[in-house]
Symmetry: C2
Subunit: 342 residues, 2 copies
């Protein structure tokens, strides 16, 4: 077990406690959630897949510990963040028409779109149920309400980001600025809130909590850019997705935005534009697009911006002036995230 | 304007205040919500359709006033309840494959399933944002947290109920008891919470609030049974849905459950069973099923149970010992709901 996996058993147990029906007639409903979370196979037999990396709850608990709090106090928020994240994955898989995730069939692919929509809604509902568990910890009520405010604003931001991301697929011209505006909502908001809530619950002052919030936000931006790179150049064996899958889906990720802009400013031939103007992009074309983008320097451009965001995340951590084991773990986790392969 | 429409302008204004993006780039996202709520046409031009009856927020505010509270204090909860209800409608329309609602195209029929799923998620997020507005009213924090607990439990119940309802479509044998177990979650929970939150916010004691909760629950059960009757025998012109639409969708509503049970206990011929065993039910068959069910007495059976639930709702109101205008309005609204035609 890696050092920063030490919170995992607690996180899983907190999540399991809220992901449970009071009635046997609801076993299948909760079973679909357990399947998605990696606790059951598709026949609802118990399983322990460690399907998710549980990055968000881990960051939340580390931030809590780093500012001197008892990380267990952050468990309700940690579970809520992971459930919220997974609700969004269940719905994203429907919206993106993705039949597999982490080498397994997605919920909609197994049980159909109607049940998958509702299972996602159920998991979203459980996220709030989990968060309200903060009341069991001896914590001031105004702090609990502040956590709920932040959590709720994050939920709104997530859906705004998802709207923007989907709308980009239908538009040709998307700028890098619009991309960032989207990523701040779709990815960075939740990571930012994960670090913020941990610090808040751990008793940090406003200024310190704001720095953890900034750390999470910049980490989220770097994380998304890294994801964009994996979505084009990731190893099929490792990611579990087809080669250049984001191009197949015509996603306007940062490398693609860079490549399209480059062709526009160059004048001359525009193989990428021609491809993205088609109704469908074939697997062969997608592989070709990946090569073209690499030649344009889209990969190194994205890598550079990701590294900048990563540095800003580290500077925010540094700015807190805090130095202890948990803080070092946060730093190490951030490093690991930027060197991941799936 | 009817007497119990007096809260409507306040409710609409409270809902509008939370259903608004901070950024022009999100206009379409919020526009889809405005469309669904009857505030815009499909080109996002302003409209004032009074598309919904806003029953839940009206009950919430009436209950608040009836127990001696200031109904405006209940506005954040009222808006939250209506947004939650409408989120569930947007998703239900996808899950049920319904292209029209209240004589208008549904969100998914206009903008596709992916955007509709996400628009529903957005409205769900705004429901919590609305509820947190209780903090702007001078209200004890423990009361706000209690309201959030109840709201969250209701959200979970809604998705459980929807799961059960969908699973019934795939099962042949469903009992009246299972039906009630489903309806308590899918329909009654939200109406129960509407009345409960109004009473709670209005300052009612536990016992009184529990009676309003029971009133809402029984009203919800009666309401769903009435809905079941409209779904089979409703006037197409008034409901805006095809004749016997619930039978076309093979819904196991109470009249159908009664009819199927009757054929089972009778032995002999079983035209209804034969129909429901088919993959698809035609419009002609659905009309025939409506006639058969009427002959079996399924309509009067359902009417009788609805009347009983209605009486229990009234008895709960009576049990509070409260008599004033708002209480009389609650009674009148309940009467009106049971005599509705759409």
């Amino acid at each position: 077990m890696e050092r920063f996996d030490r919170y995992l058993p607690m996180i899983e147990s907190e999540m399991r406690n809220v992901t449970r029906g009071e009635d046997d007639r609801l076993n299948l409903f909760y079973g679909m959630m357990h399947y998605h979370l990696g606790w059951a196979d598709e026949h609802f037999h118990p399983l322990d897949l460690h399907a998710g990396k549980r990055i968000r709850p881990t960051i939340c608990m580390m931030a809590c510990e780093a500012v001197g709090g008892n990380p267990e106090d952050a468990l309700p928020a940690a579970a809520a963040l992971e459930l919220l994240h997974n609700f969004s994955l269940i719905h994203d898989d429907i919206e993106d028409d993705s039949r597999t995730r982490r080498h397994r069939s997605t919920v909609w692919a197994l049980w159909g779109v109607p049940q998958a929509i509702n299972t996602g809604d159920g998991m979203y509902s459980l996220a709030y149920k989990a968060l309200l568990g903060l009341q069991r910890r001896s914590m001031p009520q105004d702090l609990i309400l502040e956590a709920m405010e932040r959590f709720s604003a994050t939920c709104v931001a997530l859906t705004e980001g998802q709207y923007l991301d989907m709308s980009f697929e239908e538009r040709m011209e998307v700028t890098a600025e619009e991309y960032l505006h989207m990523v701040e909502r779709k990815t960075a908001a939740l990571l930012s809130t994960s670090a913020y809530l941990g610090a808040l619950i751990g008793g940090a002052d406003r200024e310190t909590a704001a720095l953890y919030s900034l750390f999470g936000k910049q980490l989220g931006i770097a994380f998304q850019m890294e994801d964009d790179i994996l979505g084009i150049w990731g190893d099929e064996e490792v990611t579990g997705k087809p080669v250049a899958s984001d191009i197949l889906e015509k996603k306007k990720t940062l490398p693609v935005i860079f490549g399209l802009m480059k062709e526009t400013s160059n004048g001359g031939s525009s193989p990428l534009w021609d491809m993205f103007r088609q109704d469908e992009i074939t697997a062969e074309q997608a592989r070709k697009a990946a090569r073209i983008l690499e030649e344009y320097g889209a990969r190194s451009y994205t890598n550079t911006l990701a590294a900048e965001a990563h540095q800003m995340a580290m500077a925010a951590l540094e700015g807190t002036g805090i130095e202890n084991e948990a803080q070092a773990d946060l730093r190490a986790l951030a490093e690991k995230l930027l060197r991941r392969e799936s």
